[in-house]
Amino acid sequence: MRKSIMFVTMLVLLLVVAACSDDANSENAEAKQNNSSGGATEGQQESTEEDAGPVEATFWHAMSGAGQESLEAIVDNFNDSQDDYTIVPEFQGSYEEALTKFRTVAGTNDAPAIIQTFEVGTKYMIDSGAIEPVQTFIDEEGYDTSILEENILNYYTVDDQLYSMPFNSSTPVMLYNKDAFEEVGLDPDNPPQTFAEIKDAAEQLTIEGERYGFSILNYGWFFEELVATQGGLYVNNDNGRSADATEATFHGKEGLRIFEWIDDMNQAGTYGNFGSNWDDIRAAFQSEQTAMYLDSSAGVANTIETAPFDVGVAFIPHAEEAERHGVIIGGASLWMAKGINEDKQQAAWEFMKFLQTPESQAKWHVDTGYFAINPAAYKEEIVKQRWEQYPQLSVTVDQLQATKPSAATQGALISVFPESRQQVVTSLENLLQGTDPQEALDRAAKETNRVIEQQARANQ
């Protein structure tokens, strides 16, 4: 009996060992095979290149819905327009998810040639060292960037280098219910423009238990924009652009004005809180539970189309004490990976140039409501038609072009932006629950400072 047990265990052991070594062997073999087959396909690629076959370059993006459809159509146009390059678009989930995936392959040969990253990821991408600034290609070729929208280029230009190609850009605007304005005797063609005017209008528009006067999505972006439009900085060192930011400054007088303004309206019962989900606040506006709210310019067209009432679009409000400085660009840009095949980089660059043509931009603007990076697109026929149909759309472009370039409207550059945003949102939620405005803001600033400091220590 014991002998047989021993025998069986020995047998098992033998099998395990054999299996392990087998695994190792086969892994090695596989790796070898991969290498050789990889080499072979690369070789093939090179040889086919000489035979005028196209170079394939992968493009990771985070556009779903209408954006994805439009983007894929533009990519098809590019692939059909020439024979040298093929761009393969791959949807990778939200901006955050796409960035997380990119981190795992950054700097290797598996990295996609192009990756779309949201604006607050800019600093991270620059610091990662895994990307090739598009400035390299601009200089090499003498590409004229002056055809592109200056205010958008401003955001992505760091130390006089354009690091990434702007792609989908949006800004916040205020949407309001024109019918409701008429109903309470406000002028629908002359929307309120300052904090105090909004507060008054919100009071008139509020019907208790039925409709709130004004709402903002609980999302850090709107707070950032409202600070910037008063000329306020989010962090020190010129918003982190002249040197690495070391401290938050958004809890200064500009930030406090916003929090006090929201607090006043909230106490008066004229401010509607619809959470942090874009669809929820849009649904609230559509179902007339709020009469005015801030939205992204990329959502304007859809809201106008679906609302059962007349929708007005206005610039975002500013405090009386400060003049209007304008808006920061939001949205995302396209980054080129480093450490990949040069042909692939060239393919990526050609595609980026194709994206900036007025035709591509016009299609993109009309399909999605994002800005045209190339203002020449606004003269395209399809854009003109669209604007005729929805004249409100041009307000978004006017607001962008009226923006005064400065450190404030260039937008902040910090690598811990996502976390700072969460802190601002939490403070905003606390404020709506009755926390003192200054106390709420200071908390967010303190937490932001902590992560900035920690980040600086970790990246010495």
Partner: protein, 310 residues
């Protein structure tokens, strides 16, 4: 067999066993354990060790641990107000979901344990939430809770009540998520409990019937004691599940409003994969591990005494 025994007997009495011989049992046991140990090592022990290791470091943007900070991450957690809120949210969440969920599942299992025609349909219905993924059911509940066009608020306003901001009011949000979770977990608990009920020997009930015991008496004296191993299992598993809840929080509230639903696992996820602070995230993981460990040990120590194994 006999031969070998006789051969070994004299050795036992004459001289002490050599170390090699003495450890024979242990060595055999180890051999049997080897495959599972290997799997555990790769998928559990290594990640756990790595988590503990990371919790002593700050990580840079690539997630590489490069600054040793000792216990600083833990110190920060203990002082951090938002972590205290996380703990509070997690404990409340466990208290809201586990007892209620198990109680409802037990009631449903008792109901469907009766031999009635067509009972299979009900059994399938009650267990069916098991087949719905967390993501899918969360999205459905998201619509039910919708502040302006949600089903619940429509009903409340229709009967003249004031609409509730289910997911936007810090005092309601955790309750809303708990309701969703209870609904999701009922299927699993129900199925296991029903299985346990079916295993109870019919004869016990028959004898009780002869003695003229009432339904409640049978429930208290036969069903619950006989079901206790299953109940204990369901309780333990639900408790661990509740501590590790993530999906519904991510979809319904993202930890908000005012961090009232920022349960520990969600907070870990956000630290690690949104903020790239693997150090503090790991420290939180270690903390969570210790909490679950302690609760489970306590459960076995105090709860198991009440369990009746046949």
């Amino acid at each position: 067999m006999k031969d070998s025994l006789e051969m070994e007997q004299p050795i036992l009495t004459d001289q002490p066993l050599s170390w090699w011989k003495k450890s024979l049992n242990i060595r055999t046991a180890c051999l049997y354990l080897l495959p599972s140990f290997f799997l555990f090592a790769v998928f559990l022990f290594y990640p756990m060790a790595k988590t503990v290791y990371l919790s002593f470091f700050l990580t840079d943007q690539q997630g590489i641990a490069n600054v040793f900070v000792g216990l600083e991450n833990y110190q920060y957690l203990l002082q951090s107000e938002s972590f205290r809120k996380s703990i509070k949210a997690t404990i409340l969440f466990v208290l809201y979901t586990v007892p209620t969920g198990v109680m409802i599942a037990l009631a449903l299992a008792l109901l469907t344990n009766e031999k009635v025609k067509g009972i299979g349909i009900f059994r399938t219905m009650y267990a069916s939430t098991m087949g719905v993924s967390v993501a899918a059911s969360s999205v459905v509940w998201l619509f039910l809770f919708h502040p302006s066009i949600g089903f619940f608020n429509k009903i409340i306003t229709a009967i003249g009540g004031e609409s509730v901001s289910w997911l936007l009011d810090p005092s309601w949000a955790l309750v809303s998520i708990s309701v969703t979770t209870i609904w999701m977990n009922i299927g699993f608990s129900f199925l296991i409990l029903l299985g346990g009920l079916q295993n109870i020997d019919e004869q016990l009930y028959e004898s009780a019937k002869i003695d003229g015991a009432s339904y409640l008496y049978k429930l208290r004296r036969i069903t619950i004691p006989m079901l206790s191993p299953t109940l204990f299992f369901v309780l333990t598993v639900s408790l661990i599940n509740a501590f590790q809840t993530f999906g519904q929080v991510d979809i319904l509230t993202q930890g908000g409003p005012s961090e009232s639903t920022n349960v520990i696992v969600y907070s870990i996820y956000r630290e690690a994969f949104v903020n790239y602070q693997f150090g503090t995230a790991s420290a939180q993981s270690v903390f969570l591990f210790l909490c679950i460990l302690i609760v489970t040990i306590m459960q076995f120590k105090f709860g198991e005494k009440k369990v009746h194994y046949q």
